[in-house]
C-alpha cells in the first residue's frame, strides 16, 4: 500500500518580507575570535595563578599559535616539558614567567631550564553559567 501525495511541492503565499533586501549573514564568533583556524587550539584551565589577568579556574582559552610571543603576552609555555599558563616577560634582567596572583611566585628562566612558547592566548572564554 503506497501513500500517494496530492501535492509534491509547497506553494508560497503572502507578501515578501520588507526586510528581505536587508538580510546579512548572521554573526559568526569564529570570524572574530578564530582568525587563524589552522593555528588555533582550545585549552581548558584548571588553576588560579592567572586570576588577576581575568583567567579563572575552569575558563577556556583560545590559543593562537600563529601569533608572535612578545614581552607581556600571556602564553602557554612549556618549562622542562610541563605546560603552564603565565605572562611572558623579557627584559635586560632575563626571561620571566609571571603569575597574576600574589599567592604564586614568579619564575625566572635560568640557563639550565628549557623554555618554549606553546602558543599565545588570544582570548579567554569565561562562562557565567554553572
Amino acid at each position: 500500500m503506497l501513500d500517494l501525495p496530492l501535492f509534491g511541492s509547497k506553494i508560497p503565499a503572502g507578501f515578501p518580507s520588507p526586510a528581505d533586501d536587508h538580510l546579512e549573514a548572521t554573526i559568526d564568533l569564529n570570524q572574530q575570535y578564530v582568525r587563524h583556524p589552522a593555528a588555533t587550539f582550545f585549552v581548558r584551565v584548571q588553576c588560579h595563578s592567572m586570576i588577576n589577568a581575568g583567567i579563572h579556574n575552569g575558563d577556556m582559552l583560545v590559543v593562537d599559535r600563529s601569533l608572535e610571543a612578545k614581552s607581556g603576552s600571556i602564553v602557554i609555555a612549556v618549562v622542562n616539558g610541563e605546560l603552564t599558563v603565565k605572562r611572558l616577560i623579557k627584559n635586560l634582567e632575563g626571561v620571566w614567567l609571571m603569575p597574576e596572583n600574589p599567592d604564586f611566585q614568579p619564575l625566572q628562566i635560568r640557563d639550565s631550564m628549557e623554555l618554549h612558547v606553546w602558543g599565545v592566548i588570544a582570548h579567554v572564554i569565561h562562562s557565567l553559567q554553572p
Binding site: L2, G8, A38, F42, R44, V45
Partner: protein, 421 residues
C-alpha cells in the same frame, strides 16, 4: 619544480604536541586493536623497535625502556593533518595532498631561493601546528621524494630541507640509493630489476627507458625519465571522486552471538551513511560481510556477504542500517567465531542526481533529508556518539581495544588539553 612536505613521524609528533614532556623520549603508536607498531619516534627507532612489531612482543621491552605507547587516535591525527595541509597550501599556488602526512607543492615559476623559502615553511608549520616537517625539492616528484628522504636521514646541509639541484654530485647520491627507496618501486620490481643487473637508482636512471617500458610498462619508463629530471608525473589537484566507501574492522575479541555482530554492523552502516552525506553522495547498494579469522586454522572457517540494492539511491542512515540488518540475518551462521565484519557501499552517485520515483513521495525524501541533517548537526556539535541508533548500543563487545588512546584534544569539547599550573 616540485616539493614534497612530509611530517616527521607524524602520529608520534601529534601525540607530543599535547604532551611536550615526551619530546626527546621514545614514542610508539599502535594499530587498531593495539595490534602492532605503526609509528615510531626517532628515539623508538634507535631502540630497535621495528615497524609492524606485534605489541605483545615488545610490551616488556617498551616498559623497561620507558617507551610511551599510544593507541591510534585518528580523530586527532586527521585534524592535525588538516591544519598542516591548510598552512602548506598558503605557500604554493597548487598543492596535492598525497596522504595524511604528505603534500606535494607546485613551485613552478617561483623565482625564490627555494631552500630558504622552504626553511621558512618548516618554521611556520612547526609554530602554527607543533608538527615538525621535512621538505624535498626537485624538478620531478620522484626526485623530490628522494630528496625528502635524504633530508630526513640528516644528509642535508640545510637541516630539514634539501633541494636536489644543490647536491654536489647527484650521481654519487643515486648510486647509494637502493631501488626499494624509490617512489613507486615495489619489492617485487626491485628484485626483478636486480636479475637484469640494475641494483641502484643510478643504474636505473641510466637504463634504456624504452626497454624498461617493454619489461615493466609505462610506469617504470616514467620513473626512469623522472630520475633524469624530466617531469612525467603531474600534480593531481583534485582527488578522484570516491567510488566506494568501506567501513570495516577486526574485533578486539571474536564474536559468536548475533546481537553483537548486529551492533557492530549497525555502527558500520551508520558511519558509512555519515561519510556519504558529508560528501554529498548517495549509494545504490549496500554489501554487508562477516568473516572468521583466516589465520586460525584450528576452528571452522566461514565468510559470506549479502548485497541489497535500493530502488532509489540513498544516504539515509535508517535505510542503510535496515538493509545491513536484513543482509546479516541472511548470512549469519551459528557456531563460528567471527573476527571481522564490515559494510561496503560499492557504487556511489552525487546525491544531487537522485530522483524520486513515481511512487515515492517527494515529502518522504524531504523528511529523510531533514532528519539526517539534524542527526549530523547534533553529532557534530556534541560529539560523535550523541545520537545513535539503538541497535548499535545493544552490545559493545565488538569495540576496538584502545587501551592507550590519548584524548581527542582538538575535536571534542570534553577532551580539551588541560593546563593545571
Amino acid at each position: 619544480m616540485f616539493a614534497i612536505a612530509d611530517c616527521n613521524n607524524f602520529y608520534a609528533s601529534c601525540e607530543r604536541v599535547f604532551q611536550p614532556h615526551l619530546n626527546g623520549k621514545p614514542v610508539v603508536v599502535l594499530s587498531n586493536n593495539d595490534g602492532c607498531v605503526i609509528a615510531r619516534s626517532n628515539e623508538a627507532k634507535t631502540l630497535g623497535i621495528k615497524m609492524g612489531a606485534p605489541y605483545f612482543k615488545i610490551e616488556k621491552y617498551a616498559k623497561q625502556e620507558g617507551v610511551a605507547v599510544f593507541s591510534s587516535n585518528y580523530a586527532l591525527y586527521g585534524d592535525m593533518s588538516q591544519r598542516v595541509m591548510h598552512v602548506l597550501s598558503r605557500y604554493a599556488p597548487n598543492v596535492e595532498v598525497y596522504s595524511i602526512d604528505e603534500c606535494f607543492l607546485d613551485f613552478s615559476g617561483m623565482p625564490y631561493n627555494l631552500t630558504d623559502y622552504c626553511l621558512d615553511i618548516c618554521t611556520i608549520v612547526k609554530q602554527c601546528t607543533g608538527i615538525p616537517i621535512s621538505i624535498g625539492i626537485a624538478p620531478t616528484k620522484t626526485l623530490a621524494k628522494l630528496a625528502n628522504r635524504l633530508a630526513k636521514k640528516g644528509c642535508s646541509p640545510s637541516g630539514p630541507v634539501l633541494d636536489w639541484r644543490t647536491l654536489p654530485s647527484a650521481e654519487t647520491v643515486l648510486e647509494s640509493v637502493p631501488l626499494d627507496d624509490l617512489w613507486g618501486i615495489s619489492r617485487r620490481w626491485s628484485e626483478k630489476l636486480n636479475t637484469i643487473g640494475i641494483h641502484n637508482a643510478l643504474a636505473l636512471r641510466d637504463s634504456n627507458p624504452k626497454e624498461m617500458r617493454q619489461h615493466f610498462g609505462v610506469v617504470m619508463e616514467r620513473i626512469v625519465m623522472e630520475l633524469r629530471g624530466i617531469s612525467c608525473i603531474p600534480l593531481e589537484e583534485m582527488p578522484p571522486a570516491k567510488k566506494q566507501i568501506l567501513t570495516s574492522r577486526s574485533f578486539g575479541e571474536k564474536l559468536t552471538v548475533f546481537d553483537d555482530l548486529r551492533s557492530a554492523v549497525t555502527h558500520f552502516a551508520a558511519r558509512a551513511a555519515e561519510k556519504l552525506r558529508r560528501q554529498n553522495l548517495a549509494t545504490q547498494a549496500l554489501t554487508v560481510f562477516i568473516q572468521t579469522s583466516p589465520f586460525d586454522s584450528s576452528r571452522p572457517q566461514y565468510s559470506n556477504s549479502a548485497t541489497t540494492e535500493f530502488d532509489i539511491p540513498t544516504n539515509d542512515s535508517a535505510q542503510l542500517i535496515n538493509s545491513a540488518h536484513h543482509g546479516l540475518q541472511r548470512i549469519f551462521r551459528k557456531g563460528f567465531s567471527y573476527q571481522r565484519a564490515g559494510v561496503l557501499l560499492p557504487d556511489l552517485l552525487p546525491a544531487s542526481v537522485v530522483q524520486a520515483t513515481l511512487f515515492d513521495s517527494a515529502n518522504n525524501l524531504d523528511r529523510s533529508e531533514q532528519l539526517m541533517a539534524a542527526l549530523d548537526t547534533i553529532n557534530r556539535r556534541h560529539g560523535k556518539k550523541s545520537i545513535r541508533y539503538a541497535s548499535e548500543i545493544i552490545s559493545n563487545k565488538w569495540h576496538m581495544r584502545q587501551q592507550f588512546k590519548s584524548p581527542s584534544y582538538t575535536t571534542n569539547w570534553r577532551e580539551l588539553l588541560t593546563i593545571q599550573i
